[in-house]
Each structure stands twice: as structure tokens, then as C-alpha cells.
């Protein structure tokens, strides 16, 4: 890769060297579970702080340990990160250690004073969550008026010269409003739009009506491709999460980072991505549950967890033989390895078979079939928990299937 292109890429972009050296390029750190919103899709079921969150001294020590691993970007999340009293101290320490620091927030109480202090502490950018327009957002975020407050926060961030991004959930309620939402956020000054499909974890597992069905990928992907092209022309860069894909005719359009030949190359949890919970629990991805926790920095040095934990090594141990269902014999199995681990585990109870896939939906559609998820087990009600779904294969309404697949 030439130097000018490398300079132009987002710091969170992980290249081959990062994978080979297993650099945790992007560290996503939940610094508190306290939250001022009540989101119906929240994976961590945030609200009140964890009983045993890291002290300031422990958090600052952790910043040094993250820097030792040569991480480039630390994203602060919650809960709501600004509800932690020492959040500015943590931001300043991250910047002093030479890493980029961003804040992901619902923005309800991201006041002028908070933005100014965060900017002074060295915060680089803010991603504001906006899930649909007006009442849709308010309903999903559980607070009346939170849409207007989030938009005001976005404008405030922009006015302070910080990089302004928006995070949006794609689900049954927001999908019809994505185009209108794009106009709104461009108007408010956003330059990046991170999109993720709502995953059936935590509170979202309790709201199956909110979740997209696998066959809806046939609608999602062409729409995202259209928005990506239009957004780029209007100064908005679309960033699909790892749970959006995979490999259909729009892959190169939606994942294009200065290169149309970039494609999804499998889950990167534990290879170039690290998640941290507020009590010091280290995971290979911020979305994954406790089954994927590699250790806690109160007991073990971060480097030892990152380099030696077998629990966090699942990605580099996974082979095609570990896949099941449609993914086991998929054309893309060796590259994709069943896509986003978080999504497949939350839906199916274990990784290795991911129904939320465009290629899969296209293959089903070619046979006159589609897949529908039916919830068969409730989530127990804990942070980062999940229920379980079964896949029903059925004919596309109005069409005659070539054959009925017994079980996908």
C-alpha cells in the first residue's frame, strides 16, 4: 500500500500487517454501564452502573496497557460514557498516550459544557446514535424528546470542530426511514455514518418484532449501496458494521474504502478488535457475551490476556468444519467463516451459522425460498445475554419454490 493511501485511510482500518501482528487496532471500552436512555435494543441492558467498575487509577493504568499493545483508536462507550465523573481524565490520558479517542453516545445530555471540556481534553470525534426520525427514535431510545436532543448534540459537536459521526440501527422500524435520516444527518453536519443491523442481544432479544428477517437483506443491501454512493457525493462516508453483508453484488460498493476490491474477510474479534467492560473484563468484541471473556485486568495484565487467552482465540482456531447449516457448504465459507460471530451466536445460540446474509438470501431466493426467524427461547435478562431462534424455510409468497429445504 502506498504511503498517501495509507495516510488517507481511517485509523480504525486494519491492514494485513495488523492482522499478522495481531494489533488491537480498535479498542471499544464501556467505561460505565450507567445510562440516561432506556433503549429497547441495548445489548448490555445499560441503566445503572456495574457494581464494581474500574477506579480512576485502574482506568488510567489500563490506558497505558492499551497503548503498550499499539492500539490506534479507543472508542468510549457506555452506558453513557460522560456519566462517569473521570471521563475527561480518561480521554486526556488516551490522547497523551498517542491514541485517537472517540466517544459513542446517545447525546441526551451531551451539553455545550461537556462538548467543550471533551474537546479541550483532546477528544477527536463523536458518534451520535440516531435511530430513525422523531417518534421512531424516541420510542427505540425510550425517552421522549431524545431525537431532538441527539440532533442538537450532533450540531454542537460539529460546531466545536470535532469529527461528527452518526450511528444508526437498521431494524424493522428504522429501515423505511434510512433515506430520510441520511438527509437529516448530512444537513446536521455528519461526515460518517456507521450502520449496524440490530442484533438479538440484551433488550433486543426481548423485542423480536424489531428484528429484521433474513430475507429482508434483499431490500437492505441495494438500499445501502444506493445511500453509500449518494452519501459519498454529498460528503457522507457510510461505514457498515461487520454484521452487514455479505458478498452479493453490492459488497464492493458498501465496503469501499478507497478501493472497490475491499470485501468482508471474516469476523475480526480478537485479531484487530478488543472490547472492554467497565469492570475490567476483556473480550474479543464489545458486543459478545461473557462466554467470550478472556480475563479481567484486575487479575491479569492486558497483554497476557490478549496474547494468551484461548477464549479470545476462537477466530484463528475456527475452520470450515466448525461451521454448520447453510454456512458450512457456502461458496464463501473459507473467507467469511459465517460472518459476524456476535450476530450468529445471539440468534442461533452458537457461532458458525449466520442467517443475516445477502448471498444466502439471494441463493434462497433463486430457489423460490426465504428464511424466517422464529423465537423459541427467551433471554434470561442479563447484560449481553441472548435467547434463541429457529430458522423456518418457506416459499417466497406468491412464488412456487423449486424445492423445500427441510432445515437450513
Amino acid at each position: 500500500m502506498d504511503a498517501s493511501r495509507a495516510d488517507a485511510l481511517p485509523v480504525r482500518y486494519a491492514g494485513l500487517d495488523d492482522i499478522v501482528n495481531r494489533v488491537p487496532v480498535s479498542v471499544v471500552w464501556e467505561i460505565t454501564l450507567a445510562c440516561d436512555l432506556a433503549c429497547s435494543h441495548c445489548g448490555s441492558r445499560a441503566g445503572t452502573r456495574r457494581r464494581d467498575e474500574l477506579t480512576t487509577a485502574e482506568a488510567l493504568d489500563l490506558v497505558e496497557q492499551i497503548a503498550e499493545l499499539e492500539a490506534r483508536d479507543v472508542g468510549l462507550i457506555g452506558g453513557e460514557a460522560y456519566l462517569r465523573k473521570d471521563w475527561l481524565e480518561i480521554i486526556a490520558a488516551i490522547r497523551a498516550a498517542g491514541m485517537r479517542c472517540d466517544l459513542q453516545t446517545g447525546g441526551r445530555n451531551l451539553t455545550e459544557e461537556r462538548v467543550a471540556k471533551a474537546a479541550a481534553a483532546g477528544l477527536c470525534g463523536v458518534g451520535i446514535s440516531l435511530d430513525g426520525i422523531g417518534a421512531t427514535h424516541d420510542k427505540l431510545r425510550g425517552v421522549l424528546g431524545s431525537y431532538d436532543l441527539a440532533l442538537a448534540a450532533l450540531r454542537r459537536v460539529r460546531a466545536h470542530g470535532l469529527s461528527a459521526a452518526v450511528n444508526s440501527q437498521i431494524n424493522a422500524y428504522t429501515l423505511p426511514q434510512l433515506r430520510e435520516l441520511m438527509d437529516v444527518i448530512i444537513d446536521a453536519g455528519a461526515t460518517n455514518w456507521q450502520l449496524a443491523i440490530t442484533t438479538a442481544m440484551g433488550n433486543a432479544a426481548d423485542h423480536p418484532d424489531m428484528l429484521l428477517q433474513p430475507w429482508q437483506m434483499l431490500e437492505v443491501m441495494p438500499l445501502l449501496a444506493e445511500l453509500a454512493v449518494e452519501g459519498r457525493e454529498r460528503g457522507l462516508f457510510l461505514q457498515p458494521a461487520s454484521n452487514i453483508g455479505y458478498y452479493g453484488p453490492y459488497e464492493s460498493v458498501i465496503r469501499n474504502v478507497l478501493d472497490p476490491e475491499i470485501y468482508f474477510h471474516g469476523c475480526n474479534a480478537g485479531d484487530t478488535v478488543m472490547g472492554i467492560e467497565a469492570d475490567g473484563t476483556i473480550k474479543s468484541c464489545p458486543g459478545l457475551g461473557s462466554a467470550y471473556a478472556g480475563g479481567n485486568v484486575r487479575e491479569t495484565r492486558l497483554r497476557d490476556i490478549w496474547e494468551k487467552s484461548e477464549v479470545m482465540a476462537f477466530n484463528r482456531r475456527r475452520t470450515v468444519d466448525d461451521l454448520w447449516g447453510f454456512c458450512r457448504t457456502c461458496y464463501y465459507a473459507e473467507t467469511c467463516m459465517a460472518g459476524c460471530t456476535w450476530t450468529s451466536h445471539a440468534l442461533m445460540g452458537r457461532a458458525g451459522n449466520n442467517p443475516m446474509c445477502h448471498h444466502r438470501a439471494l441463493e434462497m431466493d433463486r430457489q423460490g425460498l426465504r428464511e424466517r426467524l422464529v423465537k423459541v427461547k427467551d433471554a434470561p435478562g442479563r447484560s449481553f445475554d441472548h435467547g434463541e431462534f429457529e430458522i423456518v424455510v418457506e416459499p417466497v409468497p406468491g412464488r412456487v419454490a423449486d424445492r423445500i429445504v427441510a432445515n437450513a
Binding site: 492482522i19 501482528n21 459488497e251 470485501y263 485479531d271 484487530t272 496474547e307 473459507e334 473467507t335
Partner: protein, 65 residues
């Protein structure tokens, strides 16, 4: 030195249908049947033509001052 991460298995973009194909599909696209090398060559020609047109436009604008 940490153990290496999982090295992605490479794919190739079919310039005819915009789908990614496996490298062991050496000749024809598994999805649209296009000759992959021929589609690449045509794409390169189109890119070169676009670059020539863009340069001609820049030159014309420069001449007008």
C-alpha cells in the same frame, strides 16, 4: 511476539457482475460466467479512457484560463 491473526482467504472481484469470486475460479465467474481476465482488461481500458477524458477536460479548462 503474539500469534498471528487469521489471514483472510483472498477473493477476486468480477468486474462484470461485481460479485467476489474465489481465486480457484481461475477463468470464469461462478455467478455470471464472464471471462474474469477479459472483464478485468475491459475495466482497465474503461478506466484509462476515463482518465484520458478527465485530463482532456482539465487541459481545456486550463486553456480557457
Amino acid at each position: 511476539m503474539p500469534e498471528s491473526g487469521r489471514i483472510p482467504v483472498p477473493l477476486r472481484l468480477c468486474r462484470a457482475c461485481r460479485r467476489f469470486v474465489r481465486l480457484d475460479d481461475r477463468e470464469d465467474c461462478a455467478f455470471c460466467g464472464a471471462d474474469l481476465d477479459a472483464a478485468d482488461a475491459e475495466h482497465e481500458e474503461n478506466v484509462a479512457e476515463m482518465r484520458r477524458a478527465a485530463q482532456a477536460l482539465r487541459d481545456a479548462l486550463a486553456e480557457r484560463g
